[in-house]
Symmetry: C2
Subunit: 472 residues, 2 copies
């Protein structure tokens, strides 16, 4: 790759210190190493920045961008670093701009049911603050205990409750963005509909920090449902479990979640958490959540869903109604990714998404791939969204050379099937980032890809804003 960027000179570094204060400028190798990677498990994806800045407001970020623009220095926005596609990695060095110190709730507006917060707030903290008011933010990435609001928006994070509530973007009413040129722009507001010009807000949602840096957001809140139940439903085979998913959705019931966990994912998570779930003869499980305001309705829907599962091969239907039991199950589900990583740090966590009706076609193909390439591919994910986290893992005894040969071939074949045969997409929520950019080019028709490039060039003609992500 041709590095067209300029280094950060002593003089520029001083200017940056003047903007954010010396305490918010990190250059010490040991400290900036943390900012050289995200949660994507591949050494090649790591890259050291020259400097990490932790500004405390949008004005500082605007000043930083003006300097970066003047001197053609790459700037990589960073949230919690919990991303899974290498989006926060400073591929060309330069500046990492972390929003970690911008973590305030600015306003809770109960008349309009909105909260306005800075980009660096942890998702779960936001909901902790809202709980006592009976309100909640319906975005629910699985990393909610660590991920930042800004990152959620930049990646349009999905997660475990999208079947009913949709993904993060649906709740973003307004945002403040700093452009690559250092302009502070406020988009949207507290309004629920708006056709006053192009919908730039929607464009920034999911643009992975390549068009600008999100500094704060106004979020639509919902009244917290006061009834929720989870069904944990084991099946003898993964195929039986997944085949029930479109059948549930056709009932007209909208569960909050329909999560899928195959046996090996579940086992690894249980081991990792020192948890036990009944796994005798189990090939896979569905975790189905229902929530609402009316206990009788939830009860009725639970029975309907449970019966449907039983009719289609469920071995058992376990019901978790109290918070502790529910959290136990969800904790297993949330910790699968981490558990697989502990088992085998060399792996490729995938994020394919297909039309709901085509989910049953994904698992047999994964089995074929698994056999063909001789690697295990545990699979779990948001089955109710057609979004599966197939994870190809390098077994400890496989050589790194072999793995490096296999991984791209396996992914190419997987993506070609998902996009070409099932009309799906290669990422439902983790994003393209660094990890999938060459694959995105391979599966995207030229006409669409050209529009991607035009868009990036229009917003960031110098290519200084998170360069090397999404596009090759």
């Amino acid at each position: 790759m041709n590095n067209i960027y300029n280094p950060i000179t002593t003089d520029i570094l001083q200017q940056l210190k003047d903007i954010v204060g010396p305490v918010n400028v990190l250059t010490d190798e040991e400290r900036i190493e943390n900012y050289s990677h995200d949660e994507t498990s591949k050494e090649e994806y790591a890259h050291m920045p020259e400097v990490v800045l932790t500004p405390t407001n949008a004005e500082q970020i605007a000043s930083i961008m003006k300097i970066a623009s003047k001197h053609t220095i790459p700037v990589t926005p960073r949230g919690a670093g919990s991303g899974l596609s290498g989006g926060a990695i400073p591929l060309f060095g330069g500046i990492v701009l972390s929003v970690e110190k911008m973590n305030k709730i600015l306003e809770i507006d109960e008349a309009n049911l909105t909260v306005t917060a800075e980009a660096g707030i942890v998702t779960n903290e936001l909901n902790e603050h809202l709980k006592s008011r009976g309100l909640f933010f319906a975005g629910y990435p699985m990393s909610l205990e660590t991920c930042f609001l800004g990152g959620n928006i930049a990646e349009n994070a999905g997660g475990g409750k999208a079947v009913k509530y949709g993904v993060t973007g649906r709740y973003i009413l307004g945002m403040e963005v700093v452009t690559p040129q250092g302009e502070i722009v406020n988009l949207g507001g507290k309004i629920t509909k708006d056709v006053s010009g192009y919908d730039l807000k929607q464009l920034y949602i999911g643009s992975e920090g390549t068009l600008g840096l999100i500094t704060k957001a106004t979020i639509k809140l919902l009244g917290k449902p006061n009834v929720a139940s989870d069904l944990l439903v084991p099946f003898a085979t993964a195929q039986e479990a997944i085949a029930v998913v479109p059948l549930i959705l056709k009932q007209g019931i909208v569960p909050t979640s329909i999560e899928f966990m195959d046996r090996s994912s579940t086992e690894m998570a249980c081991t990792y958490l020192n948890e036990t779930l009944p796994l005798d003869g189990v090939g896979a499980m569905l975790l189905i959540e229902l929530d609402g305001t009316d206990e009788a309705t939830i009860e009725r829907e639970m029975i309907l869903v449970g019966d449907l599962c039983t009719e289609h091969g469920a071995m058992e239907v376990y019901i978790a109604e109290d918070a502790t039991a529910r959290e136990r199950i969800w904790s297993v589900r949330r910790n699968i990714a981490e558990a697989i990583k502990v088992y085998s740090p060399i792996q490729s966590l995938e994020d394919v998404v297909v039309p709901i009706g085509s989910i049953p076609l994904v698992l047999p193909f994964l089995s074929e791939l698994s056999k063909k390439y001789g690697v295990r591919i545990p699979c779990y994910g948001h089955a109710g969204d057609g979004n599966l986290h197939a994870t190809a893992i390098k077994d400890p005894e496989m050589s790194m050379e072999k793995w490096k040969e296999i991984e791209p071939a396996l992914l190419s074949e997987l993506y070609a099937f998902i996009v070409g045969e099932l009309h799906g997409k290669i990422s439902g929520e983790h994003g393209i980032g660094l990890k999938r950019k060459s694959f995105l080019k391979a599966v995207t028709p030229d006409g669409e890809y050209e529009l991607f490039k035009s868009l990036k060039k229009a917003f960031d003609p110098q290519n200084i804003m998170n360069p090397g992500k999404i596009l090759v």
Copy 2:
């Protein structure tokens, strides 16, 4: 305005005839006059095209765009012509490209709960086809008896059910678009989440045909609720009625609709339809719809909402539960715009949108404007979305000179208040088009406006795709 475009020569006309067939090429002045305006009531907004084309597929449209691009000829996409901002008016002549002959349903996919249809299908027809399957498209523009799907998407049409169901864009999973350069691009699909590259689909939604022409779309369907009730609630004053709106929404109940009609709007519609509603001493009415799958729930919510209205000054709460009674009320609501137009064809139908909590502040300001400028401003609209159709009308005895002086001043003052004081937007659903473009520039901060311009230039560098709309 400087016309940078080339005329359609005999030779070019022949090429267009070769593409779509002579029967789909209209040049006869009498016939093309229909395509010189939309439903925006202002003579100055009309402009004759040189030719109207009615292609029958996307390939023909792509070929047309290639010719237009080669010769720098402006192309104005057109749906049903039911728009209210002059979006379909061929301001610079050239080609009007009407999708009226592309009106087929291509597929109803019950496994994925989607319908795929061409851009020229009438919204209501779509739902008629879906009815027997217990499904519906939740987009509900008030012009649903005439408006086309393509136009709904291009304008991101809102309408009467957005409180619960959101606006058109929420349901568009996939679309086929022809770019200004004549490329056919397919965006999205049947998937419900997707972060594989920039969200171009969302960008086209609401872009008013200025970035490309939508030729078909895949729509997410919902199961049709089998219970619905409407409450018609008269209040002595408009201010009392509107003040109840945020109170209802804070209950945690999500009505399908909360529509507002002031006395003069209601009277005009009743006269127009030869309908009678009880209007003795009534200053305004709310029309509140609840729908769902459970009769008891709807009943309970209806009582809650009714009681709340009564506690806050409602004179009466009328309940309409059967289809005929419900349609009578809704027909009044849907026909207000047409009725006001019949009363006074010279008028300005506005579409401002504010945060829900600020709705009560809009009416007193409209009263002030009404007094200051000496014009009536009947007001109605989607109060539950904060979206009000204030309509300034020229009384028959006012001179045209006076009106022409008053109208822009009144609108400027209204928009400045809505945007500057209430943090609202100048259009919630009708769009900017031709009518509001100078006002949009006036109220949009430079940073955001520059991004609008960059975006348009990136997609349509020749400015041939619906030129003269949104941007000045």
